[in-house]
């Protein structure tokens, strides 16, 4: 046990000492800490306004449910494939073979995972002012939220290991786990529908009523955080303790699966530890870390190659081939379906012009991250694009082709549904689709500029700040011109054209950025990180 305590504290100490070599990071962490302390103090000493109307707490329950369902789904699936792990490859190589009880090693793994989960959940504490302003919560309520979030994430990690041990190598058990998972999701959807019909309310209100109901709080993993938090809000210690106890009891049950059979769980966590390690190494060494990596793809002997052309254009065909291997319908993938459904629900629920623009802004915001981490960025991490004997401009355009087409295809589905459910008029939807598609080109142009400007920049913090600065420089004129024209130039009957200036400026900016950085591949360095 002494060795494990030594390991925990030495790693902690060294992590802090390592900051000495990164004064910028030390200042950043210091600032974050100071801001957090200041926020907490302000909340504690300030009086709650009694006359202010706060938002409905059920909105927060919806967020908690969303996180719960997301974790339930992803951790169950990781349990069905690789499992989950509390350990690193160093633990495998050094601890698993050491003469230390495997139960103690498991305890060490649990402790270090709790620490990591707390660190990654700290963003909740940062939401103190928002939660206070919106819902009128004090420090204790936010702290409870933080606590239950950490418990929930930890629970799902343990559950994932349990699922792996239970179902590994047994297809019947795998089917059972999947049936239970989909059954739970089905139950929630059916219940929401019944409430909609019974209470004659929209989907949002029906979901609010559902997550606020007593029986929802009993749902394992997903409902317990709400039961706990409602207990805290109502001052019912018993309710909060019951919810926590449920987590502990089921969590302990999963841990007992690990420690059963003389605690010989090493083999069960080994594969997942190796997979996790490989992912980290891939990331560090700049290899492809696409989500498609885990998907099983069988290439039949009869399958004909779709690679065509000669020279730079082959990069475009290669991307289409890769996309086809990830998604049967090429550009129409899970993301397209997800966005289309979300747009349908939004259009059906909101049905006003401002709602349509807020949705467009949200979609464009999501598109930004998808584009800058997309195929062009991945291609820039492989040597071939630099080494193929073709002009840099041609290679850049070819390697960007699939990322230009994808938002165009997505926008057709998203805005068709949006128009069908009555979210906005057909003409407005067409121009919003154009705005969305042109944003894809704009963000691709930005990816090229980032690589040109920040390619050799070793400081990650500087990269992020300069990146955001460049984004603001590029997007602000387009948005401003669109708003001004909509407000002061366009008559009511032509308001559907309000996004057109944004689209045009985006396309012109994209072309300008591509053209200016056309020699990028001759003047930059291979990217080694995402």
């Amino acid at each position: 046990m002494k060795a494990l305590i030594y390991l925990i504290f030495t790693q902690m100490k060294n992590r802090i000492l390592a900051l000495r070599k990164k004064p910028g990071m030390m200042i950043l962490y210091g600032l974050v800490l100071l801001i957090m302390i200041a926020l907490v103090i302000v909340i504690i000493i300030s009086d709650k306004p009694t006359d202010k109307t706060f938002s409905d707490s059920r909105i927060l329950y919806l967020f908690l449910t969303g996180f719960g369902l997301l974790y339930l789904f992803t951790f169950t699936y990781s349990g069905l494939s690789t499992g989950s792990t509390f350990f690193s490859m160093a633990d495998v190589g050094l601890l698993f073979v050491a003469p230390i009880s495997s139960k103690k090693v498991l305890f060490y793994g649990l402790l270090s995972t709790i620490g990591k989960t707390m660190l990654t959940s700290i963003f909740i504490l940062y939401q103190v002012p928002n939660l206070s302003n919106m819902f009128g919560y004090g420090f204790m309520e936010v702290l409870s939220l933080f606590l239950i979030y950490v418990v929930m994430v930890l629970f799902f990690q343990i559950m994932s290991m349990g699922v792996y041990i239970f179902s590994n190598g047994n297809s019947n058990r795998k089917r059972l786990v999947k049936a239970l998972l989909y059954g739970l999701f089905g139950l929630i959807i059916v219940s929401a529908y019944i409430i909609m019909q019974k209470e004659n309310v929209g989907i949002l209100d029906s979901m609010k009523l559902l997550v606020d109901s007593k029986w929802f709080g009993l749902l394992p993993g997903v409902g317990w955080p709400i039961m706990f938090f409602k207990g805290v809000l109502a001052g019912s210690i018993i309710q909060a303790v019951v919810a926590l106890s449920l987590f502990v009891i089921l969590g302990a049950l999963f841990v007992s699966l690990l420690t059963a059979n003389k605690a010989d769980y090493y083999e069960d966590v080994l594969y997942s530890t190796e997979v996790t390690y490989q992912r980290i190494m891939d990331y560090k060494e700049g290899r492809n870390v696409s989500s498609a990596s885990n998907r099983k793809v069988k290439v039949s002997d009869k399958e004909k190659s779709i690679l065509k052309g000669k020279g730079a254009i082959v990069f475009a065909y290669k991307h289409i081939l890769e996309i086809k291997r990830s998604s049967r319908f090429v550009f129409i993938d899970g993301y397209t379906i997800f966005l289309t459904i979300a747009a349908g629900i939004t259009g059906y629920s909101l049905k006003n012009e401002m709602g349509a623009y807020i949705m467009l802004a949200t979609l464009i915001y999501m598109l930004y991250f998808i584009t800058i981490l997309g195929r062009l960025k991945l291609e820039l991490m492989n040597p071939y694009i630099y080494m193929v004997p073709e002009s840099s401009f041609k290679k850049l355009l070819a390697a960007s082709m699939s990322s230009i087409l994808k938002p165009c295809v997505d926008s057709i589905f998203i805005f068709s549904i949006f128009a069908i459910v009555g979210g906005a008029g057909i003409l407005q939807c067409i121009f919003m689709a154009l705005a969305y598609s042109s944003s894809g080109a704009l963000f691709l142009g930005l990816t090229v500029v980032y690589q040109r400007v920040l390619g050799g920049q070793p400081n990650k913090v500087a990269q992020v700040f300069i990146g955001i600065f460049l984004l603001l420089i590029v997007i602000t004129p387009a948005v401003t011109v669109s708003i001004l024209i909509a407000l002061f130039v366009l008559p009511e009957s032509l308001q559907f054209l309000s996004t057109l200036p944004y689209s045009m400026i985006s396309l012109i900016s994209a072309f300008f950025m591509f053209y200016t950085c056309r020699n990028l591949l001759d003047n930059t360095e291979i990217s080694n990180r995402i």
Binding site: K318, D522, E525, I526
Partner: protein, 231 residues
């Protein structure tokens, strides 16, 4: 065929390559030796056109970033760079099309046969073991018939048969009059065919030796004599 003149590469304040000059002539197998962190891989990447640097690098008389130089240059990286979602054969087809090669199929088949990959043509990049990835990476590097070939630790991860085959191929390339630059720590593996060696330490070339100058031809002895003091 390959000339490197005053190449300096810096990462922030760290000087990875400090005013390096070297040349590899037609039919020469030149080695880059040196302890870990000496800057060998960085230099290879600079020559391959993957990193920015100051100085001049010429491949067959052309600037290394020019299209003609890229046509003449082959690079086999230390970590195999493959596409997860392309099969072995599709990698070959991709390279052939990207380099606008003609009549490449027989050559591709032959390369895959030599590295015992011909029966795995439909396997995806992500399904290959590390050794197989390295073999495919070598095949990709050889397919365009480069005149200057850069190897960064080419033997790591290969099985004995592949090591033997690669050694034969290097000698074939040498006889064909191509220039080869190999960065390696496995001194025994290159003893038979090296013609010159550049020993690097702390980002600099501290010694250049040609085989005929080194009477006993013992690379290991030469390496330790130079890295332990003699320059």
């Amino acid at each position: 065929m390959l000339s490197v003149n005053n190449v300096t590469k810096k990462y922030g304040k760290l000087v990875a390559n400090d005013s390096i000059s070297l040349g590899v002539a037609r039919g020469e197998v030149s080695l880059l030796l040196g302890p870990n962190g000496a800057g060998k891989s960085t230099l290879i990447k600079c020559i391959a056109g993957l990193l920015k640097f100051t100085g001049d690098i010429n491949v067959c008389g052309n600037d290394n970033k020019s299209i003609q130089a890229k046509r003449d240059l082959g690079y086999i990286p230390e970590v195999p760079a493959l596409y997860e979602m392309l099969t072995i054969w599709e990698h070959m087809e991709f390279i052939a099309r990207a380099y606008s090669l003609e009549n490449w199929r027989d050559r591709a088949e032959h390369l895959l046969e030599r590295f015992e990959l011909d029966d795995k043509k439909k396997k995806l990049g992500k399904e290959l073991s590390k050794g197989m990835q390295q073999k495919l990476s070598i095949c990709c590097g050889f397919l365009p018939k480069p005149k200057v070939i850069l190897f960064d630790e080419p033997l790591v991860g290969l099985d004995p048969q592949a090591i033997k085959e690669l050694k034969i191929m290097i000698v074939e390339q040498q006889k064909a009059g191509n220039a080869i630059l190999i960065s390696t720590h496995m001194l025994d593996s290159v003893t038979d065919f090296w013609t010159s060696c550049n020993i690097m330490m702390e980002g600099k070339i501290v010694a250049i030796r040609h085989r005929n100058e080194n009477s006993d031809g013992d690379l290991e002895d030469l390496f330790f004599r130079i890295t332990k003091g003699e320059r």
